[in-house]
Amino acid sequence: MLSKAYRWLLPHPLLTLLLAVVWTLLQNNVSAGMIVFGVILGVIIPWITSVWWPESPRGFHMGRMIRYSIIVIWDILVANVQVAWIVLTVPNSRLKPAWIVIPLELREPEAITLLAGTITLTPGTVSADLSDEGHSLLVHVLHTDDPDAVREEINDRYQRRLKEIFQ
């Protein structure tokens, strides 16, 4: 009964926390009143919008998510330098763009969204489309000699970790 009331009031507890933090950051100074108002917004907004986000993922490991974010930020930095090098040195005639197809083991929409977002943010790859039943992800690679290696890397580096986060 109590957990049902909790689910009804806070359909997405993490979203509530996030909204409160965003509100406090928007004010750009920390005061008790603003934090209270942020928490109020954090309760009301998920409650109103829960119609459009009815099911939340069952498991979510925050610690693994933080480690994943650090890895992704590091990869963004490294890949930026690599892609800048490609832009400046590889002529158009020798550029080898490719489509690669990533078979999805993830089933939760939130996890697939995170994977697609990660792939787009790391330069050199853009996630373009999902298959109609959601079993594969279409990714465009800017320049690669070995498309299979890119697929292996995305699978091993991101998909496996995301699977552990949403267990």
């Binding site: 965003v22 892609v83 158009n92 763009p97 078979p103 943010l121 489309d129 109609d132 079993h135 594969s136």
Partner: protein, 129 residues
């Protein structure tokens, strides 16, 4: 005195890095001649280019004024919205056949952008194709 010197040098370095990556992103946008490869350039500017400039802003505000963390929000919102707009542009490219047709997915029938609803199938088949 010393922290101010370090702060301004660090902010200047971040500005230069950000400007450099933004420049490379713009060069990429001009240089590539295919709509899909061109899409790769803005994703770079959106991450390290803007990120380094915002970092410069944070460093400057903490050195010379009251600290400000607004910039983290800008970065957060960019990281959330950039993949979505890139995805939309990619979908438009696929839909208008402005790029090489992607290979068929191994398990399902087709890509969702290329999928035609059943009631529209005949008109598309006889009309444009």
């Amino acid at each position: 005195m010393i922290p101010e010197v370090i702060g301004s040098w660090a902010a200047a370095l971040c500005l230069l890095i950000g400007a450099g990556f933004t420049l490379v992103g713009s060069i990429g946008l001009l240089k590539f001649n295919d709509s899909m490869t061109r899409l790769h350039a803005p994703t770079k500017v959106g991450t390290v280019g803007v990120g380094a400039m915002l970092l410069a802003s944070v460093i400057y505000s903490f050195t010379f004024a009251e600290g400000s963390l607004h910039e983290l929000l800008i970065m957060g919102f960019l990281f959330v919205t950039a993949p979505i707009s890139a995805n939309f542009i990619a979908k438009v490219n696929i839909h208008r056949r402005a790029c090489e047709t992607p290979p068929a997915p191994p398990q399902d029938d087709t890509w969702s952008t290329l999928n035609v609803p059943e009631q529209d199938r005949e008109t598309v088949g006889s009309g444009t194709a």
